[in-house]
Amino acid sequence: MRALLHADWLRFRRRKDLWIIGIGILILSGVTFLAAYRTDSTDPQWPTPAQIREEVMTFSDFSGMTPEEAAAQIDLMVADATAQYESAKEESERQQAFALQKYDLSQAVFTMLGNATAPIVALVLISTLVVGDEFRFGTIRTSLLAAGPRRRFLAARVISLFVMTVGLYVAVILLATLLALVLRLVGAEVISPTTPVDLASGIAWLGAVVLATMVIISLGLALTVLLRSGALPLLIVVIAALTELFVAALPIFAPNEFLSGVPQVFLLRNIRMLTGSLGMDTHAVALSETGEMPYQAFVVPMVGIAAVVAAWGILFLVIADRRLRTMDVVE
């Protein structure tokens, strides 16, 4: 197995497309992070008292009033508008203070990875490329012959993809940490978190993200082996995800309906429940903002949800393994 993994490394390190995808993900993550910071740290423009008075006078009708009555009415309206603006400003500053916690050194990783689907899409693309190209170039023949039992070929690829997945996430984590340090060094406005991040939950959340990524990669691998091509699987994965969302919304699966329990085994739903729930436990601002439980039905504990997600991954790998072991290689 070590020999196969070494051979995989020799192959993959020379592939420019894999490097481009990986570096592209880092650039995209970095740019998105900085753009979000810029948005969150930019103060809204609030009108001055003179601008408020002018606005009141422009858009109000004082006909029928004496000048004294109009002046008194204007003063009243300006005071009212000023109070509203002050209230809005306070709320905005409160929200901004909350949002700027996301760029603290302890939170930056969760902010960058929190809602990022790009690494998952990229890793599925990589998985379909590295296996699909074996069929495209005909090297599946020599690769399978060199691997001995065909299962070893698949196992080596899964391990290689796991290493790539971990490598990419580690690179994103390092980038997030680096950018948070840069923000601190340049004196950018960053607010210290009111609640510290729970480290154990943070690690568990990262583990759940890697698990979810590997399960979706396994789906991509299974499709690639079934179709003997890397061209379509990514598209099919996206269509499958959308289909699940559509199917889960069908009335027959609604709460209190006969089939309401069926969505409990849906893949994306369980991934969202797993990462959403663990994300909230981290107390990371970015995950708390979006990590509320997406579904009410929650009948199994967290380990059960993780088991359902893992079971999907195992199912995909079993399908890929069976297909690979029984297929006639005609490439």
């Binding site: 020799l10 020379r14 592939r15 005909g138 090297t139 399978l144 060199a146 006639d328 290689v329």
Partner: protein, 342 residues
């Protein structure tokens, strides 16, 4: 089998695709050492058989064994087999040496051994000068050479080559033939599928000929060619040739012995060892040939005779056969084992 143990054995091998049997009950015994030729027209089932032998296809029925171990996809014994099947399978984004290195590494070769073997194997196939060039930019011939280097990197005991000289220039063809001969001389068994019949005739000491998924002839190359052993007998005049034809009881008319000697020669189907007997018979009748030379049948003619559906091809490969009862009957040539014999 010449008493040698079988490296490849198949029994009743069948592979069915859709509605047709690509391989239809093949029994093979490839002895250890030497070069074994595997011939057949397009679609005869050669590549399918080879793919089963290297564990790329599952047989529909029958068994195949290599070095006594049953071959199925992923069988451990396949680690002792190097193969080149149809078009070369290479990673275009890797250089020639990196391609060899990847497969050498997969075979579990250590870094020191690997470095030495990469240099050796690329040198062997004439690619040492372009070792750092990307395989994606290689010509067909260079790709073929590189695939050959990859097939040999693990120093296999059995090398299975499917059309190894495809796309090679004449120098490349000669190089590969020499390489195959060297491998055989070093004790490696080479199983060679080729359309280039002179190549097979030159390299192979044993041959199997396939037709429509079945073996129609198998045996030592010399024996196969022996079925077509003939003597070319030239006389000074057409009259002498005609007299000789009558004495020998031949049905076929004399043939031209060249543009200036019409009808003055005979082709006699008889083993070369019978040349002196034939010469004596003619001498006793007062006929003295100006030339008496062996004309061995080419493998091409044997191949066409065994694999063509066209009766003309058989006729073209046919010979002047002495009529029964006229003079002494020519002894029967050694016949190759055929499907019917089994």
């Amino acid at each position: 089998m010449d008493g040698r143990s079988a490296v490849i054995e198949t029994r009743g091998l069948v592979k069915r695709f859709a509605e047709a049997n690509a391989v239809d009950g093949i029994d093979l015994d490839v002895p250890a050492g030497g070069v074994y030729g595997f011939l057949g027209p397009n679609g005869a089932g050669k590549t399918t058989t080879i793919r089963i032998l290297v564990g790329l296809l599952w047989p529909t029925r029958g068994t195949s064994r290599i070095f006594g171990e049953t071959v199925v996809p992923g069988a451990p014994v396949l680690a002792r087999v190097g193969s080149l099947i149809e078009r070369p399978a290479l990673y275009p984004y890797l250089s020639a040496s990196e391609n060899v290195r990847v497969f050498g590494t997969s075979h579990g070769l250590g870094p020191d051994v690997l470095l030495r073997r990469i240099a050796e194997s690329l040198d062997r196939v004439g690619l040492a000068a372009v070792a750092r060039r990307k395989a994606g930019g290689f010509s067909t011939g260079m790709r073929q050479r590189l695939a050959l280097a990859i097939a040999l990197i693990g120093r296999p005991d059995l090398v299975i080559l499917d059309e190894p000289t495809n796309g090679l220039d004449p120098n490349g063809v000669v190089d590969v033939r020499e390489l195959i001969a060297r491998l055989a001389a070093d004790g490696t068994t080479v199983f060679l599928s080729s359309h280039v019949l002179p190549e097979v005739e030159q390299l192979c000491d044993r041959v199997a000929i396939l037709r429509a998924g079945r073996i129609v002839a198998e045996g030592p190359t010399n024996d196969l060619l022996g079925t077509g052993e003939r003597l070319f007998v030239r006389f000074d005049s057409p009259a002498e040739a005609e007299s000789a034809r009558a004495i020998l009881g031949l049905s076929a008319s004399p043939i031209d012995a060249g543009p200036t000697r019409p009808g003055s020669a005979l082709l006699v189907d008889t083993p070369i060892a019978e040349a002196s007997t034939l010469n004596r018979r003619l001498g006793e009748a007062g006929l003295y040939p100006a030339e008496l030379t062996p004309r061995r049948e080419s493998l091409e003619a044997v191949f066409r005779e065994l694999t063509s559906d066209n009766p003309d091809a058989t006729a073209a490969a046919g010979h002047a056969v002495p009529e029964p009862g006229a003079g002494e009957p020519a002894p029967s040539p050694p016949a190759p084992a055929t499907e019917a014999d089994r």
